[in-house]
């Protein structure tokens, strides 16, 4: 009787522990898979067209009836997922200074390309720090 009970209890315990261990590993695997999928959702590079569309959509002062009023001059990517776009005005090139605008690619699940700062010609430390911009990005931004 007692021995049978012990066997039953031991068996249950082993099964329970085993189930917990199995759950743990399965869960870890799922999380890793999910993370991998998310990472893979961020493209390695964005095209100028994608950047232009994102900027025009999010910075209304840079669009006229949905059409961008700027032309991208150059794009820098100081960190993965961060884009510094230098642009000039479409209608009066040379009359104004080129401006920069900072975007972050947060992946398709989190909004994709997002304008973080700009447009502007200066990004002082006080402002980039206040906004939590990574240092390599901030340095490149305020050159």
């Amino acid at each position: 009787m007692n021995r049978k009970r012990l066997i039953i209890i031991a068996t249950c315990t082993v099964l329970l522990v085993g189930a917990l261990v199995a759950y743990y590993f399965i869960n870890q695997a799922n999380q890793a898979k999910q993370q991998s999928q998310e990472e893979s959702s961020i493209p390695a590079n964005r095209s100028n067209n994608e950047l232009t569309l994102a900027i025009a959509a999010q910075a209304p002062e840079l669009a006229d009836n949905g059409q961008p009023v700027f032309v991208i001059d150059s794009v820098k990517k100081p960190l993965a997922g961060w884009y510094i776009v230098t642009m000039y005005q479409k209608d009066d090139p040379g009359k104004t200074n080129p401006a920069r605008i900072l975007l972050q690619d947060r992946g398709s699940n989190k909004g994709g390309l997002q304008v973080v700062m700009g447009p502007g010609t200066a990004f002082p430390d006080e402002e980039t720090k206040a906004y939590g911009i990574p240092e390599p990005v901030a340095k490149e931004l305020d050159k």
Partner: protein, 1060 residues
């Protein structure tokens, strides 16, 4: 826990209600039941306003009584069932209000239960609930704290009617003043009266008000002075018959309307526009006062970590171990050879305030005294033979003549009792001292919370500061009692006082209850039969010893004690008085000037030794007791409330008394800033309460003590001694020998419980009129000048009509026209005003009756203004009052005193030349946003600036300029030169730009790199950095778009200097 700041209209209204109510009462008698039209008619009647105005200050007495009645009702909950407003008056008040509101009783009970279970937070939650039920809308968390301060401030307000009157006039100038004729505001002192600052305008707007010009257009800010230069009408929201309506007040009607009770909304509004100086947290005067009070501005309360350590940090800070600094700095100071305070190296081994072998000395003294008492040595056995007694050295030459000899027979047993009185007096003084110290301690803690309330009042409070105060209230000791529940843990932290957790729960953040609880603690530790031991033990507590020194700064106490001493002055008492005063003074000085541990230790030891020595002499002990009572009079009021809740009429009086204590600071400010301290009636009421409460306390203590316990001041034996000796001291037996005959009956009558100790050390204070008559002199009375127990009359103003009706602008013009002041408002050297200010205001000569001494009973008549041309002197004093009012109205931001100029702070340091003005003018674009390409294109600089100055752009909303656009406009506005719409690429070749080195760069120079430009504000070659102003980029917060920045030299390639 997060606590909201009063950032909404409702909340601000709530926070200001008490003062506003007071104001209404203040002017109720003059203007109640009168419409604005009536008021105008009233004003137009020749002389009528002056008549009304004359009631201003004199009505303060009645007003104060009415206030007290209101407070009393508030505390007792007698008169609040119909008033949500009353219910908002403080936690205690609110709790009582609930209790008095019939149907709200149950709610109030629950609330208090909540407070007991969950501490202050619970009470706050409870209050929120109650007020929600009352339909009072949102409620400021911690309102009780603030409102208690409001009660005290109200008391102060009643003393500041001088400033209130002038504030109305000055505020009218601020709102409706003329536009400064010069954009650089050449006459700065006039500019200070003409126009609101940005912050003041912001407050107006928050309240839904609008200042408009004659055309109904919103007034605009002067770009240079950054002030809104005044309008013609003020549009605000007013409650009329339960409806909110837009009311328009014309400039011409403002003065009368703001005093009209029916226009209370207007009053509330304008009070929100400016913060009175004494309530401005960052004001230099307020800082100085706080420093003298040794308030802990930033204690470590609420910090995470070891509780005991945190407690110690707070305790050390309160004890003044790091005075003038935060509790974390632990900075000690010493005095160098130039008399300046300099920080010294901390002794790492020092823990708290260790007074070393002093403890042994105290205990030795105690044991010695007890042994002497046990042996009977302390009481002299006098011979039965009267004639022999009369030949004893102490009586020889004094008691002669048959009459006296016959009396000595009666005195013989008395003298024996008086011998006992020695130890009694010693113990009594010790007890009083210890208790008052401890109570001062409690009050100091309370003052920390008052400080927090002050911050909120000054609109400088933050959720964090309130949260810290709330956190310390809730911090629990090992018994689960929070500070809000008990005062004991501070002692527990030092293991010097029995760690008895108090059973009673304080009313959350109701600070009064905290004090009351502290009183219970002190009495428990010190009171009763073991008072000698207890008192001595407490005196050896280093924490208390530190407080002994550090609580000696109750402003005005010196004058009070001086008055007392004057009464007591009889022969040898002068010696005692001076000796004690000197010792206490030395202690104070040591504390103030030499804040090192060792020096404090030595000074305290020396002073205490002397006090003990002096106290052995009953005559001196008598004085000492009185002196200490006066010096610590305010805390003692709290002491006398031991075991008594601060409720009912007595409680109200107590709060009033404590208010006097706390606001002694404000009174000091008042004295500095042209205010009038307590008047005679207020003071009499104050002292009257002292005496009442003293009697009550003594009666309670007497019931607890064995009749033959001579070690207790409350025993019948001690009472006989204490009752007789002071009588001997008071009666002038040499002038009136017959008085001696009445002694026995006097003694007998003194045995009634309520009359004994109250006639000992404190006897003299009952003679209020005598004290006041000393303080008042005929000359002052004849001239209708302010008189007070503080005897400070130097700023009194005796022409109320002139006070109420003379336009501050006219005063300034008069001062300017008569060349008394310069454009900045400073006295012109060698002018009559400079002389007056030096003699009568700045304190370079002591012109007030601050001390005893016949030679100082009259202040210099010159300071009154009646000596020469009285109009001149009145104008001088009005000017002093007005400028102090203006100080209060000027916003104090960023921890700087910005009273000197209304222009941007940065402009003050910039040159008046083109370069300096370029930088200065750039600041006008600070409130606007960045616009890529802004300031370029076809637009000329002139056209752009015309639009800008015509207010076609909205601050905080419109994006207008980019970096080079900003540089262009700043240069144009400062110099009239338009450099054109070129981008920065054209700068290196532009003819009016000359390159200078980076080290040479100064304000107004142009920093350049490919694609960006900024304007230099300042240059630090040592660190190779610039402070700059520029247009940067579009940011989520528009305020950051265009504004100041910092750059290292490497951030820019070239520096250009503009030349015409």
């Amino acid at each position: 826990m997060s606590v909201k700041t009063p950032d909404t209209k409702d909340q601000q209204d709530t926070a200001y209600n008490p003062s506003e109510q007071h104001y209404d009462e203040q002017f109720n008698r003059d203007y109640v039941s009168k419409g604005l039209k009536d008021l105008e008619d009233h004003a137009n009647s020749a002389g009528s306003e002056g008549d009304d105005a004359n009631t201003g200050i004199s009505k303060n007495i009645d007003d104060t009584k009415q206030q007290e009645e209101g407070w009393r009702n508030n505390f007792t909950g007698k008169n609040n069932a119909d008033s949500g407003k009353d219910a908002q008056k403080g936690a205690g008040g609110a709790a009582a209000a609930g209790a008095g509101a019939g149907g709200m009783k149950q709610v109030a009970g629950r609330m208090m239960g909540l407070a007991k279970r969950q501490g202050p937070l619970g009470l706050i939650i409870g209050l929120l609930s109650v007020l929600g039920l009352l339909g009072s809308g949102t409620f400021l968390s911690g309102l009780g704290l603030i409102n208690f301060k409001e009660l005290l401030v109200e008391k102060f307000d009643s003393m500041t009617s001088v400033v209130e009157e002038r504030a109305d006039l000055a505020l009218g100038l601020r709102l409706f003043g003329e536009n400064p004729t010069s954009k650089t505001c050449a006459v700065m002192i006039k500019c200070r009266f003409k126009g609101l600052s940005e912050r003041q305008m912001q407050r107006l707007k928050v309240q839904g008000a609008q200042l408009v010009d004659a055309n109904g257009k919103e007034v605009t800010k002067n770009p240079i002075t950054r002030r809104y230069s005044g309008g013609q009408k003020l549009i605000y929201t007013r409650q009329v018959g339960g409806q909110q309506v837009k009311e328009t007040i014309d400039a011409s009607k403002f003065k009368l309307a703001v005093r009209d009770k029916s226009y209370s909304d207007l009053r509330t509004l304008v009070r929100s526009v400016y913060a009175p100086r004494y309530m401005s947290w960052n004001d230099s005067v307020a800082k100085d006062i706080r420093s003298k009070k040794r308030l802990v501005s930033n204690p470590q309360w609420g910090e995470e970590g070891d509780q005991k350590s945190a407690n110690k940090e707070v305790a050390k800070a309160v004890a003044g171990e790091s005075p003038g600094a935060t509790a974390t700095e632990n900075t000690k100071y010493t005095t160098d050879e130039h008399g300046n305070q300099v920080p010294v190296q901390e002794d790492p081994s020092a823990q708290g305030l260790d007074f070393g072998d002093d403890t042994k000395n105290i205990n030795d003294e105690k044991d010695k005294l007890l042994q002497q008492a046990a042996n009977g040595d302390i009481t002299k056995s006098l011979p039965d033979d009267v004639a022999t007694v009369a030949t004893l050295p102490e009586y020889e030459g004094k008691y002669s003549g048959s009459g006296i000899k016959s009396v000595i027979g009666a005195l013989n047993p008395l003298d024996a009792v008086a011998g006992l009185c020695t130890i009694y007096q010693l113990a009594n003084v010790t007890l009083v001292t210890a208790k008052t110290i401890a109570l001062a301690n409690a009050m100091r803690y309370a003052s920390q919370f008052m400080s927090t309330a002050d911050m909120f009042k000054a609109l400088d409070g933050t959720p964090d500061s309130m949260e810290k105060a709330m956190t310390i209230l809730q911090k629990e000791n090992q018994y689960g009692d929070s500070y809000g529940d008990s005062f004991t843990y501070n002692y527990i932290a030092y293991n010097t006082v029995t760690d008895i957790p108090l059973g009673s729960s304080a009313g959350g953040n109701d600070t009064i209850r905290t004090i009351s609880t502290a009183i219970n603690t002190v009495n428990g530790a010190l009171g009763g039969k073991s008072f000698v031991s207890g008192a001595c033990n407490v005196l050896t507590n280093p924490f208390v010893q530190g407080l002994l020194a550090l609580t000696s700064f109750i402003p005005g106490a010196g004058q009070l004690s001086g008055s007392l001493a004057k009464i007591l002055t009889k022969g040898g008492m002068d010696v005692a008085k001076n000796a004690i005063k000197d010792k206490i003074k030395s202690l104070i000085e040591a504390t103030v000037k030499n804040l090192t541990k060792d020096k404090l230790k030595d000074a305290a030891k020396s002073a205490r030794d002397q006090l003990f020595k002096l106290a052995k002499d009953p005559a001196m002990a008598l004085f000492l007791g009185g002196y200490l009572f006066e010096r610590y009079g305010v805390p003692y009021i709290a002491q006398t409330l031991a075991g008594t809740e601060f409720v009912g009429a007595d409680g109200m009086k107590a709060a009033d008394g404590i208010g006097n204590g706390f606001d002694a600071t404000n009174s000091a400010t008042a004295q500095l800033r042209a205010l009038t301290p307590l008047n005679k009636e207020q003071y009499k009421s104050f002292v009257g309460f002292q005496n009442e409460s003293t009697t009550r306390y003594v009666a309670d203590m007497q019931q607890e003590t064995s009749p033959l316990d001579f070690t207790s001041p409350y025993s019948a034996g001690s009472r006989v001694a204490s009752a007789t000796y002071p009588l001997l001291s008071k009666l002038d037996i040499f002038s009136h020998p017959s008085d001696i005959l009445s002694l026995p009956s006097t003694i007998l009558s003194s045995l009634s419980p309520n009359k004994l100790l109250s006639q000992t050390s404190y006897a003299a204070t009952t003679d209020i009129n005598a004290e006041l008559s000393y303080c008042q002199d005929d000359f002052l009375q004849q001239h209708n000048l302010a008189t007070s127990p503080y005897c400070n009359v130097k700023y009194g103003f005796n022409d109320l009509n002139m006070l109420n009706n003379t336009d501050p602008d006219a005063v300034i013009n008069w001062m300017l026209d008569n060349k008394e002041i310069d454009n900045d408002g400073n006295p012109i050297p060698d002018s009559d005003f400079a002389d007056f200010k030096s003699k009568c205001v700045d304190g370079t000569e002591n012109k007030f009756i601050s001390d005893i001494g016949d030679e100082e009973q009259h202040i210099d008549e010159e300071c009154y203004g009646d000596k020469n041309n009285s109009t001149n002197y009145k104008m001088y004093r009005l000017y002093i009052i007005d400028t102090s009012v203006a100080d209060g109205m000027d916003d104090v931001q960023n921890n700087t005193n910005s009273t000197a100029s209304a222009a941007p702070e940065e402009c003050k340091t910039m040159a008046a030349d083109d370069l300096g003005q370029i930088a200065c003018h750039a600041y006008q674009f600070d409130p606007y946003g960045y616009k890529w390409g802004g300031g370029h294109g076809e637009t000329t600089a002139a056209a752009f600036m015309q639009s800008f100055k015509a207010n076609q752009f909205t601050p905080g909303q419109d994006h207008i300029l980019d970096c080079s656009g900003l540089v262009r406009m700043a240069i144009f506005d400062a110099t009239g030169v338009d450099i054109g719409g070129m981008p920065t690429g054209g700068y290196p070749t532009y003819s009016k730009f000359k390159e200078v080195s980076k080290q040479e760069a100064k304000a107004g120079d142009i920093l350049w790199r490919d694609g960006h430009t900024e304007i230099v504000v300042s240059n630090d070659p040592n660190s190779q950095t610039w402070k700059t102003f520029g247009a940067h980029q579009v940011y989520s917060d528009i305020a950051k778009d265009i504004g100041p920045a910092s750059y290292s030299y490497s951030g820019f390639t070239k520096v250009f200097r503009f030349t015409k």
